[in-house]
Structure formats: structure tokens, C-alpha cells
């Protein structure tokens, strides 16, 4: 497995552990031997494009889907053998914001609390507290149909906390939200994690993983392609990204070969150290006529590109859950 790992697994308490998880639908391999370790009391992001298997993994970890093979434990409990006990300690909120729009905010939380097995008064107190802290106190007596998208997400998140979960799964929690609402939700997620809850979130936005998570797993085609802290991942592609644009597009393959980079949208991108530009230019100049050269610090976008062979989704785009994957790019890896 490329990229860094998370220290000594013997001493680290793991909230989620997945071993060689496979989920197959006929010919389609939604998960193709996924291995994953998520330390407790952290925010962990599972990053990948549409169809990478993110939602499938969340469905397995939250007991909704039994994998074809492999093993997943959540809070030390096996999701296939002890699904009932797993459900007691997890909370789930999804991109579809599964609140009942015909119930009021309060009723939604009360229903969830009842199903968690809370007593009625306990339920009411907890619901009131959550509505308050998610800024929904005034809207609590209104039916959720009248809520804005952001309010629904907040209610969904509040509902997922009714059982005071140890581990919270958020499946693309900000997909389709505007920037302001998204930032507010990020704050909520940080606050939840600060109370010691392990947060596992899936996202296709590098920015989101970078902003929230202390560790990241990049998955593509149902498999882990890289994992580590945001910094570790960035360092694997080099500190600087040099973008070279040739005068003629026909020179792209030659330029990629000489510079040792990847072709992306009419340019060649090369990861390097801060002092590496000189070395690259020395190799290229005289071989291929250059139109432009630019440099930038490596971002998670570059990591993503390096490992998956395609660019990440633009933030704000609406995502389908687990559609058959996008065309497979060439998969050239840097060492």
C-alpha cells in the first residue's frame, strides 16, 4: 500500500477496522479488497471520486450491507455478527438527509430517540438540547418540509447524535451545500469530534478532507490507493508542483517523458522539491519548446490526481451515490 500508515496498530485504539472487504454486484466490484484502519477520537476522511466505493463502505460499516467477503469491526464489534450492538454505538447521517419531511424537527428527533430506546423525558430533553445547539430551536415545531437544505442537514446531523454515538458516520455531509452552510457544518463536525466522538466522513472534496480530517484514506475502484495525514500525503507527491505547457500539443507525450510527469489538461505536471524546478527545466529546455511554466505548492488535488489518475470533483457539484465508475484514467504512480 503506498503512502504512510498510522503508527503502531498495537498501541492505537481503532474505531473502525476493515480487512480485505469485497462487495460484488454481479460483475461490478463496488469494494475490491479494501483495508482500512481508523484510530478512535479522530476525524477521518474517506476521499474518492463518484463510484469509488465510499458509500458502499459506509453501508457496510453501518450494518446496512453485508459484504461479500472480508471483515469490518466498528468499536471492536463485528458488523456482520453483532449488527445490533454496532447500531447502539454509531450514528449515521447521509447525503440524502433522511429526515421525515412530514414530521417537525422535534418529532424527527423524538422518533430517532425512541428507536434508540430512550425514555420519553430523556428523549425530549436531549432533542431540545440538540435543536438548541444546532440553531434549530425556533424551527423545532415546524415540519421539516419547510426547512432549507442546510437546516435539513443540521437536523439530520442532530438526529444522528440522539443516541450519543461513539462513532459517527457522515456520508458526503456537505454535497450540494453552499459554501457558507458548508463551513457552518464543518464547525459542527469539529465540535462533535472535540467531545471525543470518532467521525468518519466520506467526501469527494479534497478541500473538505484537508480542512477537517487528521487522517485520510484515498480510495478508487473499491480499493485504498493511499492513506496518511494530509501532510504525509502531500509530501508523497513532492512539495512543489511544476506545470509545463508546450507550444504544441503534439509534444505532450515527449514532454511528459523528458520531465517525468503526467499529462493533465494540455499540460504536464511534475511533483518536485522546492529546488527541483532547475533540474526539470535543465532536462526539458532544448528538447521541447515550452509555452509556459508555473509552480504551486502541492495540494491534496495533486495527491488525488497522482493516485487515482483523474482530477477530483469540483466542490458544489451534486453527486450520485454509487454510479458505475468514471472512465479509468491511466494509473501512473510516483514513488
Amino acid at each position: 500500500m503506498p503512502g504512510a500508515t498510522y503508527g503502531d496498530p498495537v498501541t492505537t485504539e481503532l474505531a473502525v477496522q476493515a480487512r480485505d472487504v469485497r462487495v460484488t454486484y454481479g460483475e461490478t466490484k463496488a469494494l475490491d479488497g479494501l483495508d482500512l484502519e481508523i484510530p478512535a477520537a479522530t476525524i477521518h476522511a474517506i476521499l474518492g471520486p463518484n463510484g469509488a466505493g465510499k458509500t458502499t463502505f459506509i453501508r457496510v460499516a453501518t450494518t446496512l450491507l453485508v459484504p461479500t467477503s472480508g471483515e469490518v469491526t466498528v468499536g471492536g464489534l463485528d458488523v456482520v455478527r453483532q449488527p445490533g450492538r454496532v447500531r447502539d454505538i454509531i450514528g449515521v447521517a447521509g447525503q440524502y438527509a433522511t429526515v421525515d419531511e412530514n414530521l417537525t424537527g422535534m418529532e424527527n428527533l423524538m422518533l430517532t430517540g425512541t428507536l434508540y430506546g430512550l425514555r420519553r423525558d430523556e428523549c425530549r430533553a436531549r432533542a431540545a438540547r440538540l435543536l438548541e445547539s444546532f440553531n434549530l430551536a425556533d424551527a423545532g415545531s415546524r415540519v421539516a418540509r419547510t426547512y432549507s437544505g442546510g437546516m435539513r442537514r443540521r437536523l439530520d446531523l442532530a438526529a444522528s447524535l440522539m443516541g450519543e454515538p461513539k462513532i459517527l458516520f457522515l456520508d458526503e455531509p456537505t454535497t450540494g451545500l453552499d459554501v457558507r452552510t458548508r463551513n457552518a457544518l464543518w464547525e459542527e463536525v469539529r465540535a462533535i469530534a472535540a467531545r471525543g466522538v470518532t467521525v468518519v466522513l466520506t467526501t469527494q472534496y479534497l478541500e473538505e478532507a484537508d480542512a477537517l480530517a487528521s487522517s485520510i484514506t484515498i480510495i478508487d475502484h473499491g480499493r485504498v490507493v493511499a492513506s496518511g495525514t494530509p501532510e504525509e500525503l502531500k509530501s508523497t507527491v513532492g512539495e512543489e508542483i511544476v506545470t509545463l505547457t508546450p507550444v504544441s500539443e503534439a509534444d505532450l507525450p515527449r514532454l511528459a517523458e523528458v520531465a517525468g510527469g503526467d499529462i493533465v489538461a494540455g499540460s504536464v505536471r511534475v511533483g518536485t522539491s522546492v529546488a527541483g524546478l532547475d533540474v526539470i527545466l535543465e532536462r526539458v529546455v532544448g528538447e521541447v519548446p515550452l509555452f509556459a511554466v508555473s509552480t504551486a505548492s502541492a495540494s491534496l488535488d495533486d495527491v488525488f490526481l497522482a493516485y487515482t489518475g483523474h482530477v477530483a470533483e469540483e466542490a458544489g457539484e451534486t453527486a450520485d451515490a454509487e454510479e458505475p465508475s468514471a472512465p479509468r484514467g491511466r494509473r501512473r504512480r510516483r514513488s
Partner: protein, 253 residues
């Protein structure tokens, strides 16, 4: 215990959904009233009834049966809606009693049918329906809720099997028209062509309508009541078997 609590919590949720959805109220209430008015005043005059029995007295016990069945059929769409929207997933990710989403659905639709039937009886009385006020009415009411219970299980089985609300809309209702019209609900079976009368006689809806007629008009427990109960047991067993099997297999390879 958890099963009872969860079933009731979800029953209430399902009933609130109907109450707060104006479209559902229109469908549930206006449509049967239109049927009553249409058949009593438009078609009724042209329909032959046995001597000494007014058409409205034959019709209302039939219409309540038709609506108990109709009302139960709504479960197909509701179940597939919840599956498609992700609400079912949320329930399944919570420590919900495993079968409570199914029992909560069936109980809600049974109670809804019970209420609907009372409304139609009242509308019927306004347009001239004259039942015998006796224990038979209570018996008919209970029988009608049992009918709704049996058909709810069948409808849930359809909803769980097709999973898509649009498909459930057609799959959940398509069998209802032949079943309720090719029966003794609107016209005496004897007036139908032989092949259709043969179907109408074995149609459970005919047994239901005749059972309710016996209970509300005489009152007496006719053999149709026995046949009705057998049908209800059959529907419940088949519907519950398919639903529960699909439910516990959900998410398994």
C-alpha cells in the same frame, strides 16, 4: 417490548404523514365520496337489484370493502418511498426492532382504513343507506379492518419487492381494479357474463362485500364471513412471509 414501542412510534409517524399531506387526504376521502355519489345517483338507477333491496343498501357495504382494500394498497407506495428516500436505511442503522418498520406500516394502514370506513358509512347514511343498528355494525367494522390488515401485508410485500415508488404506484394498484370491480361490490354477480361471474364468485372481494352486507343489513353471520376470514388469513400469511423474508435479506449478498 422494544418491538411494541418501536411499532407504535412508527405507526404514529406513518399516520402523521397521512394527516399532514393534503394530497393524501384528498385521495383518501374525496375519492370514496365521489364513488358513492357517482354510483348512487348516476349509475344506480340503471342497476338491477334483487326485489325489496335498495341499491344504496347493496352499494355502501361494497364500497367500504373496496376502500378498505384501496386504502391498504397505499402501503406499496409508502414502503417503496421510504426505501428510495433513505428513511428505511436510517431505521435500519438505528437499534430499531427488526420488523417494527413493517408492523408499524401495517398497523398504521389498518387504523387509517378503520377511520375511512366510518367516514364512508356516515356519507352512506346521508345518501340513504339504512343499516340495522346492532352488534353487526361493530362486527363489520372489525372485519373491514382485518381486510385492510391482510391487504396491507400484501401491499407491503409488493412495496418491498419492487422498491421503486413509481413502479409501486402501478404495481400496487393495478390488481385492485379487476379485483374490486369484477366482484359483487357494484352490481349483482348474476348480471355478469358467465366467465366473469365465475371469477367474481371466487373473488375474495365478493366474499368480503357479502359478509359486510349480512352483518350490516340483517344482521347475520353468513358463510361469507367464514370465507372472508380464511382469505384474510391467507393474504396475511402470504404477504407477511414475502415481506419479512425480503426484509431480513435486505443488504445481504
Amino acid at each position: 417490548m422494544k418491538f411494541a414501542t418501536d411499532t407504535w412510534a412508527l405507526t404514529r409517524r406513518n399516520l402523521v404523514r397521512y394527516r399532514r399531506n393534503p394530497q393524501a387526504i384528498v385521495f383518501t376521502l374525496i375519492q370514496p365520496v365521489m364513488f358513492v355519489l357517482l354510483f348512487v345517483y348516476v349509475f344506480g338507477g340503471a342497476i338491477q337489484t334483487p326485489p325489496g333491496v335498495s341499491y344504496v343498501n347493496l352499494l355502501i357495504p361494497g364500497i367500504v370493502v373496496q376502500n378498505a382494500v384501496f386504502s391498504a394498497a397505499a402501503a406499496s407506495v409508502a414502503v417503496s418511498d421510504d426505501l428510495a428516500s433513505g428513511f428505511t436505511d436510517r431505521l435500519r442503522s438505528l437499534p430499531t426492532a427488526r420488523l417494527a418498520p413493517l408492523s408499524g406500516r401495517v398497523l398504521a394502514d389498518t387504523l387509517r382504513a378503520g377511520l375511512l370506513v366510518v367516514v364512508i358509512f356516515i356519507v352512506g347514511i346521508i345518501v340513504g343507506f339504512r343499516p340495522v343498528w346492532s352488534w353487526g355494525l361493530l362486527g363489520a367494522w372489525i372485519l373491514l379492518m382485518l381486510i385492510a390488515f391482510g391487504f396491507s401485508w400484501l401491499a407491503v410485500a409488493i412495496g418491498v419487492s419492487v422498491r421503486n415508488p413509481e413502479v409501486a404506484q402501478s404495481a400496487g394498484f393495478i390488481w385492485i381494479f379487476p379485483l374490486t370491480f369484477a366482484s359483487s361490490v357494484f352490481v349483482p354477480v348474476a348480471t355478469m357474463p358467465d366467465w366473469l361471474a365465475a371469477f367474481a364468485r371466487i373473488n375474495p372481494v365478493t366474499q368480503f362485500a357479502n359478509a359486510v352486507r349480512g352483518l350490516t343489513l340483517v344482521p347475520e353471520v353468513t358463510p361469507a364471513v367464514g370465507w372472508s376470514l380464511l382469505w384474510i388469513v391467507g393474504l396475511t400469511v402470504v404477504g407477511a412471509y414475502i415481506s419479512i423474508r425480503a426484509w431480513v435479506r435486505m443488504g445481504k449478498p
